[in-house]
């Protein structure tokens, strides 16, 4: 139950994010979720989109450095304690979170948490044992 995420290298200079989103929009690609990690010198844009292969090609053609990484998407009720319960299971299994971000579903009832763990296989096992709802890429796009 892994989801493909697109990561894009960004120099810290103005307009780059706008160029990327414009390129994706021009190709009719929908962004479901995104986050930006930034340092003093560079940033990494992480995207969940509805057409990974196409998005990758569009960005490569636009001269960007693009990588595809697997992440895990967990759906939780959009209420207090949703994230805490997931993190508790992960912590008990001794797994580290490399990064995470989240978005709320259109219906407003569920939140989707995107995770990258240091041990993805064990994380999937731990989350399944905790009876959390893991989403596939297709499921995210159909939300």
């Amino acid at each position: 139950m892994r989801v493909e995420q697109i990561a894009v290298f960004l120099e810290n200079k103005s307009g780059r994010l706008a160029e990327i989103t414009a390129a994706l929009a021009g190709a009719g690609i929908n962004i479901r979720a995104l986050s930006v990690a930034d340092t003093a010198d560079f940033g990494i844009l992480r995207l969940i989109v509805d057409d990974v292969a196409r998005a990758r090609q569009v960005l490569k053609d636009g001269g960007f450095t693009v990588g595809i990484t697997n992440v895990i998407a967990v759906e939780v009720d959009d209420k207090s304690g949703g994230l805490a319960s997931v993190l508790k299971s992960i912590d008990q299994a001794g797994i580290n979170v490399e990064y995470m971000y989240a978005f709320v579903n259109k219906s407003g009832e569920n939140a989707v948490l995107i995770f990258r763990f240091d041990d993805m296989d064990r994380a999937i096992t731990a989350l399944q044992e905790g009876r959390f709802s893991l989403l596939s890429g297709a499921q995210i796009c159909s939300l």
């Binding site: 995420q5 120099e11 780059r16 340092t39 010198d41 001269g63 693009v66 990588g67």
Partner: protein, 436 residues
Amino acid sequence: MDTLFWEEEMETLPRAGLESIQLRRLRHLVARVYKTVAPYRAKMDAAGVKPEDIQSLSDLARLPFTVKDDLRDNYPFGLFTVPMEEVIRVHASSGTTGKPTVVGYTKKDLETWAGLMARALTCAGVTRRDMIHNSYGYGLFTGGLGAHYGAERLGATVIPVSGGNTKRQITIMQDFGSTVLLATPSYALNLADTMADLGVDPASLSLRVGVFGAEPWSENMREEVERKLNIKAVDIYGLSEVMGPGVSMECLQTSHGMHIFEDHFLPEIIDPDTGEVLPPGEQGELVFTTLTKEAFPIIRYRTKDISRLIYDTCECGRTLVRMEKVTGRTDDMLIIRGVNVFPSQIEHVLMGTEGVEPHYQLIVNREGSLDTMAVDVEVSEQMFSDEVKHLEALTRKIQVDIKDLLGVTCKVRLVEPRTIQRSEGKAQRVIDNRKI
């Protein structure tokens, strides 16, 4: 001003006398090198020239050139002419592709070198009564030890302070009463700026003269360092392949051109493109043949330094030809804080870093008085990661590898693909913003 000499007779020889000494030494050298060093013999045979063909100084032009690659191909000791038990010291400088350039000295070579360095210091008016503050780096670099033994030979008091720890250096200057500073010109400016920060007035020091070399510096820098340190600044030239510091030296009288110690080093100026020897006074690439070195003599070494020879009579009375301040290079070598840096060395490090395709650019700046180097590297898909820590580790690794290879600290920046300027399809590897 009275001229001081170290070896007055040799320094003031009429040209005819000098040339007869040079020819005798050259013939002896060529015969010895041909006999003892196979790579030289092979090159001379290929060029169809035998030692006995050297009948006049102009026959020098018949001999093949030696280039830095010859040293690399025969790394480390392949061009030495004596057995290793006669070699009592080696020095090395960074090579163009990772392997250093190694040179060796016999006991007599070190004596010759110390004598020539003492001669150079005397050109700058330094005497045995001076307190010499030697800030050239001690180690494989020829600067520190070369200057040190010359200063000792002169009989002066030497403070072997080496590079770094600038505040302590200033304290030593104050407490010991340093009168002569030996350093790279950029380090001298760094000392001056640190003094200003500390509120130390250079006029309160005993410093009188600075002997600066190992990197190119302009007349503007001379004016600046003289003003800031309240000293007279003179230029010294040398390179490890030829000997080290003390190949040529400015005299106090003219401050225009460095006297080449021609009884030991035979200079030529060539057209860097054709290799043709140019007439006296023309600007071109400086080529040296060592006349007296034992362990590691070198024949027609192409320095890649651009200069011009001045044969006018000098006010100081020395008849030795002068070379103009080096105005440039025929290759892409940079000198950063006294260290030779070739873009190809950076490329070598980047290739050795897994996944890094070397689209890079060196950006050199002078911040205050210190040279800084930044390396921009385009991020390829192979090296890219969605995790910050991996990219930061990569940056650090490149920095450490460059520091290990070159001894120069630089800042590595990751940049997006195709952001490094390309001219005619070829990346512009170096942006040098220094105003030298």
